[in-house]
């Protein structure tokens, strides 16, 4: 919101308070000043009188003038069409700065010009406040404007505007009356509020009010007759300009300034254009032309002001075009009402019409303000619009005055803040806030002014106390609580470990968006029934991802497009389906995991690289990696290469998939050749772990033998390894495949697999013993699979 220093100074003496000090004071009290600046950019311009004005001898649009600025007469060349002899104008002398322009003596087509005659625009007055005539040429002042005086002060533009950011609980200070009280409390100074006059009213009034909606809680109406429409006095216009509201005429301006003072939006109707019967209604549907001459679609939930079944305004948001004040208005109906803030918010948002009035209704208004506003508007209409006949106020509901009492104990204050405070200090603060504190037996009882709707519990009072004293008095003290063990959960520890392992594989960690395009909510192992946002920002951020396949591939595609390397990444994230949540780990490889570099063998991206990584993760979890079972994927795959991909399982539990992205799909998403693996981390962590017990050490040498078998290509290698282990039991500890050899000479559909067989190192083996074991293995292999020793 805008705060005018000049206006504030009419409430409370701030002459000795610098702009910076005022800003700091408000900020430290929770009314954050985001910046402050003079209302107009120039302050050094003066009033001049045009003594002579001739056409420039050498130009078709320039004028040569002599301007009396009091202390001297200046020769000024002026380009404005409207400049003329005997005008009072605004002059920037040599040496002053107007906007970005630094005024210097200059020759214009041979004639020396020593200064500039200014337009409102050049002074930095917003376009909004200039009439058409004013924005066309130079500013022409009233004939009685004093020559040589500061023009900015004369125009009432000598103001500083503070940009104050309000927290939702302090909408009260949208009313200048409340803001001035706040400043008074902070400075511990008296505040003078605008004074209203008693008025004599007529005995009766024909005005009747009714409401058929629950969303209108109060409505005050009053007829005021024989008003004179004219221009507002300058003090009133200055307030509006400082608050970024365009002055219209005295009556409309009064409705605006009363709202700025009290926070209560007011609406004035031209009485001759409506009847004396006003009803607040909802449950209507129509197209309605509001004050801004735009047409709005009214729905059943919108609250409307009607007169004789004719709609005359959208409640709390904007009046109607058909009953607005005009130059011929003589009689008014004043409306001050209270509407349900939620109803107004919903209408305002749907109609996309956030007016000053709507903003105040939405944020909440002092319930007493409605009465103050009626009195104030009446007073001003008498003073500034010569109102002659004042009808009594008609109210929809009984006028009630709420008295809210809130208490807080000294003990509570001291305990919650963790500091000692004097009783007097607390009393001073509560008094300064007009909370009328009573201190009895350790308890401060306060009567809360109606504009402080935010104060309802003891903690609110404690906040007010420390807010005004200042948080700097709080010294930091360490906690004294029962010891607690600080820790990460088992899962958090594993996830950290997995990330370190993945870094060790030379991968970069990526973090991608959760929300994806619904067309991307797919992929191998996508959770069923992904959920979507009801009203998303865009189609691309609509669906909560149900897998990591799509996101990581689009990251791969992005980095591929920019030729960023090495394009190998991993991500750990939650994925969601309907009523389902899983933590997933995804790895995508497009380049050598270890590049061919000086003195370094390369490790290519491949199915086997992924499988090795998976085995490492499984090992990290204390699971025997031989528990890993891979199964071929279905042949009708669209996301994965049907013959270079697999489903990974631990016993019968599906862990995830690994393999090459289907070339057609990769092309579709503009990704290069990619190997991808996506694992359900929850399933991995749920699998039973082996205890990590140390085996006793012995001094027998390790024995290993190599065996190469020629076998059918479709013989399961994991089954074959099990066969070797079982045939060699209990002597064979482990079996590794170290070579694959393919040749037509081996026979049709045959290949040779070389195994390294490692023996349990618990004895000194004799050669014959080893030979017996190997013979047994070879025989079993032959019998069971037909494989022969190569």
């Amino acid at each position: 919101m805008n705060l005018s220093r000049k206006w504030l100074s009419t409430y409370v003496n701030i002459d000795d308070v610098s702009d910076q000090h005022l800003a700091d004071l408000l900020t430290s009290a929770g009314l954050e000043v985001e910046g402050f600046a003079p209302l107009v950019e120039t302050n050094d311009v003066i009033i001049g009188y045009v003594l002579e004005c001739h056409d420039h001898p050498d130009s078709d649009h320039l004028h040569v003038t002599k301007v009396d600025v009091g202390s001297e007469v200046l020769d000024i060349v002026c380009g404005a069409a409207n400049v003329a002899k005997d005008q009072k104008v605004i002059v920037a002398k040599v040496g002053t700065t107007v906007g970005d322009l630094h005024i210097q003596p200059i020759k214009l087509r041979g004639v020396l010009s020593s200064g500039m005659i200014c337009s409102y625009k050049e002074l930095g007055v917003s376009e909004k406040f200039n009439s058409e005539e004013q924005s066309e040429g130079i500013a022409v002042l009233e004939a009685d404007a004093p020559i040589g005086e500061n023009a900015i002060a004369y125009l009432g533009l000598d103001d500083v505007i503070f940009d104050v950011s309000l927290t939702p609980n302090r909408s009260d200070v949208l009313a200048m009356n409340a803001l001035a009280k706040e400043v008074g409390a902070l400075l511990k100074r008296d505040v003078v509020l605008p004074q209203n006059k008693e008025v004599t009213t007529t005995k009766n009034t024909p005005l009747t009010l009714a409401s058929t909606t629950k969303n209108c809680t109060q409505f005050l109406g009053r007829i005021i007759e024989r008003v004179t429409i004219k221009e507002s006095p300058s003090w009133l216009k200055e307030i509006l300009v400082a608050n970024n509201i365009r002055p219209i005429n005295n009556v409309v301006d009064i409705s605006n300034v009363v709202m700025l003072e009290t926070g209560q939006p007011c609406h004035f109707y031209d009485r001759k254009l409506i009847s004396d019967e006003i009803t607040v209604k909802d449950n209507m549907q129509l197209d309605y032309v509001a004050l801004d001459e735009e047409t709005y679609r009214i729905e059943k939930e919108d609250v409307l002001i009607t007169s004789n079944d004719e709609v005359i305004g959208i409640a709390g948001i904007m009046g109607g075009d058909s009953s607005k004040i005009s130059d011929s208005t003589t009689s008014l109906i004043l409306e001050m009402a209270s509407f349900d803030r939620v109803a107004i918010r919903q209408s305002s948002r749907r109609l996309n019409l956030l007016t000053e009035a709507a903003t105040r209704f939405i944020k909440g208004i002092d319930p007493q303000a409605i009465i103050t506003a009626m009195d104030r508007a009446t007073t001003l209409l008498v003073e500034l619009a010569d109102a002659q006949i004042i009808h009594p106020v008609v109210s929809l509901a009984p006028i009630s005055v709420e008295q809210r009492k809130v208490s807080v104990s000294k003990q509570h204050i001291v305990t919650l803040l963790g500091i000692e405070l004097e009783d007097n200090t607390i009393m001073d603060v509560l008094k300064a806030l007009s909370f009328k504190p009573q201190y009895n037996e350790g308890v401060f009882e306060c009567t809360i002014p109606s504009y402080r709707q935010d104060i309802t519990i003891a903690a609110d009072l404690i906040e007010e106390i420390i807010r005004l004293i200042g948080y700097d008095v709080i010294t930091s003290k360490p906690l004294h609580l029962t010891e607690t063990s600080g820790r990460l959960s088992i899962k958090q520890q594993y996830l950290r470990q997995f990330k370190q392992v993945a870094l060790g594989f030379n991968l970069h960690e990526v973090i991608t968006y959760t929300l994806i395009n619904p067309t991307m909510a797919l992929g191998p192992m996508a959770l069923a029934n992904p959920v979507s946002i009801l009203s998303p920002l865009s189609e691309d951020r609509k669906t909560v991802r149900n897998q990591l396949f799509a996101s990581v591939l689009s990251t791969i595609a992005y980095n591929h497009r920019y030729k960023n390397s090495p394009n190998n990444v991993f991500e750990i994230s939650e994925v969601y389906g309907e009523n389902k949540q899983e933590t997933r780990l995804v790895i995508a490889l497009t380049e050598d995991v270890v590049a061919l570099e000086f003195k370094q063998e390369k490790i290519s991206a491949s199915f086997y690289a992924l499988k090795g990584m998976l085995e490492t993760f499984i090992g990290q979890c204390g699971i025997d990696s031989s528990k890993l079972v891979v199964k071929a994927v279905a042949e009708d795959q669209i996301y994965l290469h049907p013959y270079q991909s697999a489903i990974a399982m631990l016993d019968n539990v599906i862990l995830g998939y690994l393999g090459k992205v289907h070339p057609t799909y990769a092309q579709q998403v503009e990704a290069p050749t990619t190997w991808i693996m996506e694992i359900n981390v929850d399933a991995l962590l749920a699998f039973p772990k082996m205890p990590n017990y140390v085996q006793s050490l012995n001094k027998f040498p390790t024995v290993e033998k190599d065996l190469a078998f020629v076998m059918d290509k479709d013989t399961s290698l994991s089954d074959f390894k099990t066969l070797i282990k079982e045939a060699g039991a209990p002597f064979v500890e482990d079996v590794f495949i170290f070579d694959v050899f393919e040749s037509e000479k081996l026979g049709e559909n045959k290949h040779s697999i070389a195994f390294n067989v490692r023996f349990v190192a618990n004895q000194m083996y004799r050669d014959e013993q080893i030979n017996d074991i190997l013979t047994n293995i070879i025989e079993k292999a032959k019998t069971n699979t037909g494989a022969t020793l190569r």
């Binding site: 929770g30 600080g486 992005y558 000086f598």
Partner: protein
């Protein structure tokens, strides 16, 4: 006798003149093998009488030993020479590059999140998480944001259906933690996680970001304790010289509520572009847990009090790494991710 001496002299000379291991081996064969010169001297024994045999035998043995000794010495000498030659031949170019053992670092958001988690686990906090697809009940109701509150509008929140949404703050984790631990004497938790707001993405806004909130509930927990904890956090993240400043603010979850400014880590509070010449940078929101929040979860606000604080991980990371565009975190450009190479640790 002279014959024996002659063999010794010639042998020793031959040995010392052998310059290669092969030559030395030849000399050894010539003199010391079974058919060598020394052995052939022994063949003369049969022509001698017993007395002479004894003397002659001893002499031959002596020169055999002497020759063996000479041989061994020469062998050692030649081997040393040969080793020196070999080592020299094995000379490498030590200026060629080292083998490239690459080790990347984590995503910057993970780095900052873990630093904060580690600080608070060391202070006895438990790290807890919660669902991102959350009930509005835990996200709003329990956080003291009642129905019809503007914050609950469709405008700001990603609703999935009438009661489910993408959580808008990690306060949702806190409200769950409060409910689950209402029986405990002391609760100290730190709650990191992704949160979502209906903001258009630009340099300073992101519809998705990471928040970390902390919560302590116990007997006599005060604003002075909160200030101590916030100072500890500010100093751990931005250096031991940092100061903090509390300003009144407003959050539904807390009362009183404060914004927390930290003295600028770039200019040390003197004023620079990082802190917009103010010397202070706003990084946290905090406050004393609202009594209604405590009682809704089953705590008795008459008996216990608590504090809560929260910050955006992106904001901290951007300050720490001098970044000006939040979108970099989610673009995952490898040129960006590669810049987080050194391990820094806490301050």
């Amino acid at each position: 006798m002279s014959q024996i001496n002659q063999v010794l002299q010639e042998g020793q000379q031959a040995i010392s003149q052998a310059e290669t291991l092969e030559a030395l081996d030849e000399v050894k064969n010539k003199y010391l093998s079974k058919k060598g010169i020394v052995s052939s001297l022994m063949g003369q024994l049969k022509d001698l009488d017993n007395e002479q045999k004894k003397v002659f035998g001893q002499q031959v043995n002596q020169i055999k030993q002497a020759l063996l000794q000479a041989y061994n010495e020469q062998l050692r000498l030649l081997e040393e020479k040969a080793l020196a030659v070999r080592l020299q031949q094995e000379k490498i170019n030590i200026e060629l590059p080292g083998v490239s053992f690459k080790k990347h670092q984590l995503h910057p958001l993970t780095i900052v999140q873990q630093e904060i988690e580690d600080l608070f686990t060391s202070l006895g906090y438990e790290v807890i998480e919660g669902p991102e697809v959350e009930l509005d009940y835990y996200n709003f109701e329990r956080a003291n944001i009642p129905a019809n509150h503007p914050a609950r509008d469709m405008q700001d929140t990603f609703y999935i259906n009438e009661t489910t949404l993408l959580r808008t703050h990690t306060t949702a984790i806190q409200t769950r933690a409060l409910e689950a631990n209402a029986h405990k004497e002391t609760l100290k938790v730190i709650c990191p996680g992704k949160v979502y707001r209906k903001d258009d993405d630009d340099a300073t806004h992101s519809h998705q970001f990471v928040q970390i909130e902390g919560l302590v509930v116990g007997k006599g927990v005060s604003m002075a304790n909160l200030k101590h904890t916030l100072l500890t956090l500010a100093q751990a993240m931005f250096g031991q010289d940092r100061k903090i400043r509390l300003r009144p603010s407003y959050f539904q979850f807390t009362e009183p509520s404060v914004e927390v400014d930290v003295s600028c880590h770039v200019c040390n509070g003197g004023g620079c572009s990082m802190c917009k010449q103010t010397g202070w940078i706003e990084i946290l929101g905090a406050g004393m847990v609202h009594p209604d929040v405590l009682s809704m979860a089953g705590f008795d606000p008459e008996k216990v009090s608590g504090f809560a604080f929260g910050c955006g991980v992106e904001r901290i990371a951007m300050l720490k790494y001098h970044m000006d565009d939040i979108r970099h975190f989610y673009q995952n450009d490898l040129k960006f991710l590669k810049q987080f190479t050194n391990f820094e640790g806490g301050k």
